[in-house]
C-alpha cells in the first residue's frame, strides 16, 4: 500500500496543481483534533510540491492527523482563484456553476455531500476586496459556506486522507 498510496497522492497532487497553475502555493498543515497548525507555513512551487521528499513529508504529517491545505499564493493579493466551499449544497451546484459560466477548474469531494470548488476568475492577481466580494457572491449563488469566502481562504490539497471521508486518499475520477 505504501508505494501505491504514494503514487495516488502524487497523481492527485499533480492533477490538482495542473488544473490551478500558479507560481507559488501556500501549504498549511492543521492538526485535525487540536486545531493547531504545524509549525511554519510553506511556499512551494509546483515542481517542489510534487517532489518525492515533499510528498513523503506531507503524507507523514497527514498520517499524524494533520489536514493539508493549499492556496495559490500571490503575496497580498488573490491569485485569481476563488474557493467555494459547498457544505451540504445542492448536488447539482457544480452543474449550475457550469451553466452560469462559472466553471470550476477543480472540484474536490472532501467528505460525502461536501465539495470544494476552485473557480479561476482571472489570470492576473485580484484585489482582496474584489476577491472577497466574488467569494461571497459565488457562495450565495451556489449555497456555499459564507465562513469560507475571504480572499485568501485555503482549500484541501488532493491526495490526502480526510478524517471525515473514510475513503482514503484522492482518486481522479474525471
Amino acid at each position: 500500500m505504501g508505494n501505491l498510496g504514494f503514487l495516488l497522492t502524487w497523481q492527485a497532487i499533480r492533477s490538482q496543481l495542473a488544473a490551478m497553475p500558479n507560481e507559488l502555493y501556500l501549504i498549511r498543515l492543521i492538526h485535525h483534533q487540536t486545531g493547531r497548525p504545524f509549525p511554519g507555513e510553506r511556499l512551494w512551487t509546483a515542481a517542489q510540491l510534487v517532489r518525492a521528499a515533499t510528498i513523503r513529508f506531507l503524507r507523514v504529517r497527514n498520517g499524524e492527523g494533520c489536514d493539508v491545505y493549499i492556496q495559490p499564493y500571490t503575496g497580498n493579493q488573490n491569485a485569481g482563484y476563488i474557493l467555494v466551499d459547498l457544505d451540504r449544497a445542492d448536488p447539482t451546484a457544480v452543474e449550475v456553476m457550469r451553466a452560469n459560466g462559472h466553471d470550476p477548474c477543480v472540484v474536490l469531494q472532501t467528505s460525502p455531500g461536501h465539495l470544494q470548488a476552485w473557480i479561476r476568475l482571472s489570470t492576473s492577481p485580484l484585489e482582496p476586496a474584489v476577491a472577497t466580494a466574488a467569494g461571497r457572491h459565488l457562495a450565495h449563488l451556489y449555497g456555499g459556506d459564507w465562513a469560507s469566502t475571504d480572499w485568501r481562504h485555503l482549500g484541501r490539497l488532493a491526495g490526502f486522507k480526510s478524517p471525515h471521508d473514510g475513503t482514503g486518499i484522492g482518486m481522479l475520477r474525471g
Binding site: 447539482t92 452560469n100 479561476r120 485580484l126 449563488l141 491526495g159 475520477r173
Partner: protein
C-alpha cells in the same frame, strides 16, 4: 478525499463577474438598498448589487432562520413584490432575480419565462398568506410590504 474534477481554465463568465463587482465596489456602501432603487434610474444591475439587494431582503425577513430549506421561488416572489412596491421596473427586477436568486436557474426549463411569471404574479395584491404550503406551515404569512419597510435592516 476525491478529486472529482480537474481541468485548467478560466471561468467563461469570470471576467464579467469581476467587472460587475469592481463597478459596484467603487462607491462605499451607505444603505443596504443603495443600488439603483429608483424607477428613474434603472440602469444595468451588477451581480454584486443584485446580491446585496436580495440578501438584504433575506436577512430582514429572517428567511434562513424561518425556513431551513427555503422554497426559493417563494422568496423570489416576495423580493419581486417588494421591489415593485419601490417602483422598480420589471426588467430590473428580473435582472436582480436572475443574478441573485440562489442556485438560479435551478431546474427551470425556461428561466426567462419563470422570471416573467414571477414578476407578473408579484404585481397582483398579496393574498395575505404564503403561497407555498410548506412556508405557510412553517410560519405566519409574510406581508412583504411591511416586512421590508424598515430601511435600517439588512447588512
Amino acid at each position: 478525499m476525491k478529486l472529482v474534477h480537474a481541468c485548467a481554465g478560466l471561468a467563461p463568465r469570470g471576467e464579467a463577474l469581476l467587472q460587475s463587482l469592481r463597478h459596484c465596489a467603487r462607491p462605499p456602501p451607505t444603505s443596504p438598498f443603495r443600488c439603483h432603487l429608483t424607477a428613474t434610474e434603472p440602469g444595468p444591475t451588477s451581480a454584486e448589487e443584485a446580491t446585496t439587494i436580495y440578501q438584504s431582503c433575506m436577512k430582514r425577513w429572517h428567511i434562513l432562520e424561518r425556513f431551513p430549506q427555503p422554497d426559493w421561488s417563494i422568496v423570489d416572489l416576495w423580493v419581486a413584490r417588494y421591489l415593485l412596491s419601490q417602483g422598480q421596473p420589471d426588467s430590473q427586477i428580473q435582472a436582480i432575480l436572475r443574478l441573485a436568486s440562489p442556485h438560479f436557474p435551478r431546474r427551470h426549463g425556461d428561466p426567462d419565462g419563470y422570471l416573467r411569471r414571477t414578476v407578473a404574479r408579484a404585481a397582483f395584491p398579496s393574498p395575505g398568506r404564503a403561497v407555498c404550503d410548506d412556508h405557510a406551515r412553517a410560519a405566519a404569512p409574510l406581508e412583504t410590504s411591511s416586512a421590508c419597510s424598515n430601511s435600517t435592516g439588512g447588512r
